[in-house]
Symmetry: C2
Subunit: 675 residues, 2 copies
Amino acid sequence: MARAAKNGTTIAQVAAAAGVSRATVSRVMNGRSTVAADMAERVRAAAADLQYHPSTTARGLSLGRTNTVALVVPDLGNPMFQQILRGAVAAAEPFGFRFLVAETAEHADAEAETALEARLRCDALILAAPRSSEAALRELLPQVTPAVLINRDVPGLDVPSVRVDYGAGVHSVVDHLVALGHRDLAYVAGPRASASHALRARALEEARERHSSLRVTTVACGSTVDDGYRVADEVLATEATGVVAFNDLVAFGLLARLNETGVDVPGDISIAGFDDIELARYGTPSLTTAAVPQAELGGRAWGLLHQLVADQAATPGAGRPAPAASPLVMPGLVVRSSTGPVPPARRLAVPSSDRAGRVRTSDPGVRARWSATNDGWALTTGEQPLARYASGDAMPAVHSPRPHLHPLHSLGGVAMTQTTPIDHRHHYGVSMAVPDVNGTTYWGGRTFVRGQGPTLLSNQGRQHADFTEALEGGATLSSQVRWTDERGHDQVVEHRRLTGLLLPEVEAWSLGWSSRLHAQGSDVVIGSPATNGRPGAGYGGLFWRLPFADEATVLTADGDSEAHAHGSRSPWIAVVRRHGEAWTTLLLVQPGDVDPWFVRVADYVGAGPALAWDATRRIAAGSSLDVELVAVVVDRRLDTVDAADLTEFAVARVRAAGGTSRLGPPQASVCPPRV
Amino acid sequence: MARAAKNGTTIAQVAAAAGVSRATVSRVMNGRSTVAADMAERVRAAAADLQYHPSTTARGLSLGRTNTVALVVPDLGNPMFQQILRGAVAAAEPFGFRFLVAETAEHADAEAETALEARLRCDALILAAPRSSEAALRELLPQVTPAVLINRDVPGLDVPSVRVDYGAGVHSVVDHLVALGHRDLAYVAGPRASASHALRARALEEARERHSSLRVTTVACGSTVDDGYRVADEVLATEATGVVAFNDLVAFGLLARLNETGVDVPGDISIAGFDDIELARYGTPSLTTAAVPQAELGGRAWGLLHQLVADQAATPGAGRPAPAASPLVMPGLVVRSSTGPVPPARRLAVPSSDRAGRVRTSDPGVRARWSATNDGWALTTGEQPLARYASGDAMPAVHSPRPHLHPLHSLGGVAMTQTTPIDHRHHYGVSMAVPDVNGTTYWGGRTFVRGQGPTLLSNQGRQHADFTEALEGGATLSSQVRWTDERGHDQVVEHRRLTGLLLPEVEAWSLGWSSRLHAQGSDVVIGSPATNGRPGAGYGGLFWRLPFADEATVLTADGDSEAHAHGSRSPWIAVVRRHGEAWTTLLLVQPGDVDPWFVRVADYVGAGPALAWDATRRIAAGSSLDVELVAVVVDRRLDTVDAADLTEFAVARVRAAGGTSRLGPPQASVCPPRV
DNA sequence: CTGTTAGCGCTTTCAA
DNA sequence: TTGAAAGCGCTAACAG
């Protein structure tokens, strides 16, 4: 006779205590309604009293089912399977089913054995066996029914399966990359034996056939972060501009290495992953990926299994239940920041027809005008957007939130501004950025402070666009901007006017920016890193950040080159840029007193007049400082003579249009307040 | 009677088929040796024939144990618990035990119920219940023995537990940060109710008491990546320079946000996590963390449980087994790249006694000499290291691997070089870095190529230090450096001499660098971004990258400031830097023909003579080009006059010491080859 | 060494 | 509506 002195209370004890039969106790415990109320109550009391808990094992034996299902996965360390487990556990929970987990881990050959063993303890099995051979599965599966496969399909056997359409995922990723101009791709491959790797590889083969110009190089890799990290150099060596990684882990490994080595993703190379693991959103940069709803996969597997178990219970012994329909799960492409346009150097020539449809500035009656949009103001001419004026409220505090113009385009549609670029994340299109106003920075990022060096964190101010309105039929945007320091105290109130003007005579458009900075309660002293100990770093004031181009030069009245321009007091500077065959020029003019220009074209492209080039600038309490700039954007290459000519013309036109007129004729920088 | 027509073969069938009793079959199946060999064989055959698999349920019922243990965790999505599961599953596998998982998920209140239910299906329970109240646990635990707790301790009950010494972990992290100079810390807190959060909070309290000058601000957060991402701005607002994150996930969220906003980790702020999840190594930057061996935690829990189960089986019904010893698990600090010295701006004054113990250069007989080390060559004087010369073989290909000097220190111990800084990862101390040699780059990173713009990937060359030897008793290091292009073809063979020399008279030391670049098979044309369309970007040649300082200026014979120095042909330039109260100067001299200086102190600090400032430079096949530089490192502030004086003195001394003598007196840059 | 048999604790049929 | 009892499939004590 069996001994097993389990410690639990048995049904017999409860029956005895309640003075009823074991069957009655059983009925009560299972909620059968056929028991007299008082008796049921007695039973329940006894059970509670004795802390009776029915033995699941005995029930299982008697019932022939355990309400447990097994999940067999190759590797519990893989987030993919973790998610599947999570999804399955959550889905099964409401039905009172528990999960038994088994890992085949290293023993790929023992996969079948493990599955079999696990299945024996349970009512059913969910099996993820990416590396088992089809033959092995074909032998195993009949022994473990009911079972559901994950990401495998064994033709002929009607074992339901939950499968991801990796092919479709690959196609969506490839199409995305192709749309961004990529023609040279690398596939960073999963484990050789992996079935889902095979699916991806095949899809890439198809994609290559669909896109005639596509080149795809395969780099053998694996499925872990480590693998991705290790093959990064090899991936770079393929000279691909776009990478399809086997999964997000591999993509993360790649990213880690590329970040370490300073490769710009996606500037130099675009990376896309697979799966959309939780951390994908939080990569640096955030990862574009074909999202596989992994937890849902687990949930679906449970769903199929549950149906199977139910069917079987309903028609015991009867022929096989109708195989559950198992539609493929479609991965959804999630575009984040790790993919971007193919680098200019690798871009193919764009047919000139793409440049069609632009507004002819010579059309009579066409004007540029400001209008409100959901998220700011837009300067448009006809249908064509020229610039957007954003409040900057959404900027992170460390970037010194401020209103700015971005994007801003030439009439030919070329981007003339850049925002939060990798090299200086706190550059935002065109803005009034000043690194030191009584110790507060309106520049963002680290600032050079005397006696402290480059400093972050402490002193970011904020410019609030208190109210903004379009004047003169939209020709001018008037904005009151309040500058508050890190404690929220007002420092400066600025009256700003932005005038957009078409210059059909010269096939250009022009922006007038005029600001009056009014010192509130107390004196305002404007400084710069240069005035704080780092000569040459005299930046601060109106600052215009441009995107990189194939080539960039700067012209001034004093001479050409960055070295000449930087610090010069030329009335104008021209940043001339080439993009493939096309050219644009940004002409910046200081119509009034000329402050030294801060100019960079070597490390990045940006320029603006410096308020505190080598000395601080004081605005006495109650008085104000005027800043004026006229910019002209032209879709051609200007030379020194052109630029000088255009300068005069543009200033006159902008002034006539009211762009700088409010401030009257050129005057001393510091002037008495006017209400 | 029960019906349950289970589909499996029963022991009775096997017994019948084999013509033996059920007991015999049982014996055979359980490997009892007391069965006659032939009979056993018959049984096995019958079993195999009938595909007989013993019912685990029935065995379980009979044996009173199921060889299954339950693991109850709050959240299967948490990598921590995933690892614990993994560890436990792996540890239990050899014993034939399987794991049943249950998640308490949202229902924190149903934690007890879930645990109880799960326990009923198993022999034992591992419980992770970080948020259950102690009272609840006290009531639950006696009902679920044998059980093991994870990261909880219920005094009075002798339930074994596996616990991490989070306190010790916090202390090691804090000590690490304090050693780096941090005094302002932020603790990014875990979930309020979490027990392990409480432990960390208490330890931080203690740490604050241990370190009198320490300030710790707590930022309420949570335990997920999302939580970390969300509180990043708040963390910055605390102005802490060091952050202790509740766990690695939170740290990752922080990192993601800080990277997005361009905050330099660890330059601006140091971040440390907890746990050492797999991805910690692969963060950007890689994460410093108090490593908790999570999988091992699971393994240990299994170990304790196993012991308990065994004990119980051994002495059934006997009094409680001796509670298993459960030593705390110590987290090990893993220092990676997310923590670093406190930013200079926030550094406290260093007592001047720290500067003691330096070599007195006026000591007679003290010389600087080169000697081989495990990983290159070192220039030392007495005990003091002055510079290391590394082969660069380990550099990533995209950085154009090349030999370089780093670190290099002043006699006062101030760092004068920087390697792979965030802004330009391909800067490596002092090296011969040339962005365009017949189209190949020896500069690293993206390069500006005519007609292509800034380009990565395609054309990285490599400089091999073929052989290196110390000459003249160690005064000079002679190195033959072979430049090979991206296809591995030789382009240039360089003979390089590095001479280290103490200048006791002026309390300085000096480095002579002389290179003869010999064009191999064909003409060699050296270009730069400037000659490729980006005027001003004339860099390339000997390049010296310095770390940032509190203040930096550059002096030349032509005038002071970056604008004057950049492009100047002054025979010397001096980079003068302040660090707190101390100053250093790096004086660079071109003793021969003077090439224009490429100088940056505003965006970063770096300088060197430019080989192709505004025109390409050709070395005819078979001829060579000489490059010479003398550097003087002084621990004080030099002015223009000092610098000019020192220039002559140092050049004479270095020349006398053989540093540039091999090349003879100043000569034309391009000269006939000498063998 | 082998067979017989009494349970393990529960459910469900069947008879009352 | 309730109780008695026959299993569910296996193990182990015990007899032979």
